[in-house]
Symmetry: none
DNA sequence: TGTTAATCGAGACGGTACGTCGGGTCTTGCC
DNA sequence: GGCAAGACCCGACGTACCGTCTCGATTAACA
């Protein structure tokens, strides 16, 4: 699927939102068709029938663009609420791993980019904090249901859940069983069964 | 400190280990003096008085060389044995974070490189497995000391320990308190105090 | 004499002639200072404060660049007009041999390069045809002056003149006496003296 | 057609002629199959199941090897004797151009190599002188037959004949009609028809 | 209705690094 | 000593990708 031949034009002395959308669309397209290696700034610009200048007008560098792409692609960070924490985490792992199968390598790339780009690193930090924070309501519900051990530190648990997801992404094990992983990660945190 | 002027020569129709050593030496030297950005293939070859051809005879690409460099620099993966698992893990975290402060960005870079180089990815997988396996004896000792909960899965725990280390590296939090981290990570796995 | 520090920039979405000029200038400079061995693509780019990408944007390969350099350096292919064909040819030989003393090895190199690069070969063919054609007006003047035998084929003679020049270049006899050579080459073509 | 699997061995403390033969055979084979670009020292050595050391024991550099290869391939420099000079030259041109069609590009390469290798240049000079000298007997016979103009300088003519052959080789016109060329080259040298 | 100011497409450009290629030298171990 | 094998140094080549720059066309808001 190639981009349409009509080229967007200026809409006056202000940014055209269609332009940034078209750029992200093009990038997503490229990612799907060519993989990570195809995501060069030149290719994105060409695919989007945009100019590199425009690319850099919208994002300060390649990493920022990639992060924007990832955020948009990922959609809402909805957490499940099944009434069981293991189930909630497992489903989230399943969903996230599924998404990562496609464009999760994109996220790896962002992590990589963050290693030598402070701007990307900052954005990534913010992103991580949000993801960790997303878990707190879920964990609090589980606490109320008395699923967790009494001394469980919710923030630490939230980080652990995220850390394992990242670890599996970076070590290319997205095909792992999300239920097993969730069970393993959560197991020590759960309230011991009263006999 | 520049390299000595003596040049290694062929030692016949077989690889000369001195050559690869010299290359890694040169790379380590460069890393220390110029940082990550100085670790170009050209610079390494020049510094080692080697040819790039030779470099690529030993490692298929830059990432593989970097991994070799990291592995060698890291030295033995000795795990502590203090009689307390938390203490063991905390000390290892402390040691590893300390090492990473210096050349941990090297490791980040390798992880990054692995995302678009299958050879590096494979090497990294092997490396991760080794690191995880390194923990098993330590965990078994803790098990014998009855520090761990009865149903603790040692492999899962080992992975968790490593995962958190990587997570902190990649999210640039090497200044975190290793003892707090160790305590947090291990806490749910520990045997509940019998009152 | 190093190049000035001012760096040329883009002049919009079209090639900047100043750039190619600067590249050829730099190459000429290098040739004079370092000789043929100094004419590497890297050195030329560095000297011209250009990037290798730009170099290859202008010429498809090193040989093409060298040919452009040669053509420009040679200047106009002005042929003499002394009223005597032998004199004309001799003077041209003298001038060309003189030029070749300096950068004629450049021309040899181009001929060499043409042997395994079709692009250069084509350019060289075109160049040869031009040089041969350059002689025709001169020969026609000589014909009018009744210097040449009646049955002289001007095109063949033109080629012969050029062929001998190349032959002497390639066999490294640029120190030969151009007048003797011209006399020898032309002698059989000249009208026999009427007694 | 690949080389036999048996490898020649040393025949004691003296050069093994089979070795140099095998090397030239291999080079000829490569030239035919892969063209000029395939004639690298590595490839020749591999093809001949020889070592590069041996290559350089027999010839001081690549150019010398190529020249040896050319001389051997060309066979005797027999000149024709048909009773007509034009016919003699035309036939020789035909024969040489035919040979060059196959491996004449090799000769171009040697000329090229001579431009930056003095050893090859010397060998080439000697070779040229021989080729020019080869013509003298032929020309003397023609002189006796009164085919040539009285004032023809035989040495100059011989050089001219050779120069045109080289020129056509280097300008990639081996498909030219050798008879036309011979006629053109010789025409001004021939005795004018008495009417 | 012109003038201004900004967006935008296009693509040349500098810079930096990568991986590859080829020539020629060397050392070992076998004959 | 010749010879096969192949590691090694050196130097160069062509390619890739990033981020910057300059043009000229376009359009909306303002004069």
């Amino acid at each position: 699927m190639s981009r349409p031949a009509v080229s967007r034009r200026s809409i006056g002395a202000r940014p055209n939102p269609e332009t940034s959308d078209a750029i992200l669309d093009a990038a997503a397209d490229l990612l799907r068709r060519k993989g990570l290696r195809g995501l060069t700034t030149d290719a994105i610009a060409r695919e989007a029938r945009a100019s590199k200048t425009t690319l850099y007008r919208w994002w300060p560098n390649r990493g920022a663009l990639l992060l924007a792409l990832y955020v948009r692609a990922k959609g809402g960070s909805t957490r499940e609420d099944t009434g069981s924490l293991v189930e909630d985490v497992a489903r989230t792992y399943a969903r996230v791993f599924g998404a990562w199968q496609n464009e999760g390598r994109l996220f790896s790339l962002i992590i990589a980019e963050a290693q030598h780009d402070d701007g990307v690193a900052e954005a990534l930090t913010a992103f991580r904090k949000e993801r960790v924070a997303d878990w707190l309501p879920v964990l609090r519900r589980a606490e109320k249901r008395r699923e967790l051990a009494d001394d469980a530190d919710l923030e630490v648990l939230a980080e652990s859940i995220v850390a394992h997801a990242w670890f599996y992404l970076l070590t290319k094990r997205l095909d792992a069983d999300p239920f097993v992983l969730a069970a393993n990660v959560l197991h020590p945190w759960l309230r011991k069964q009263d006999s």
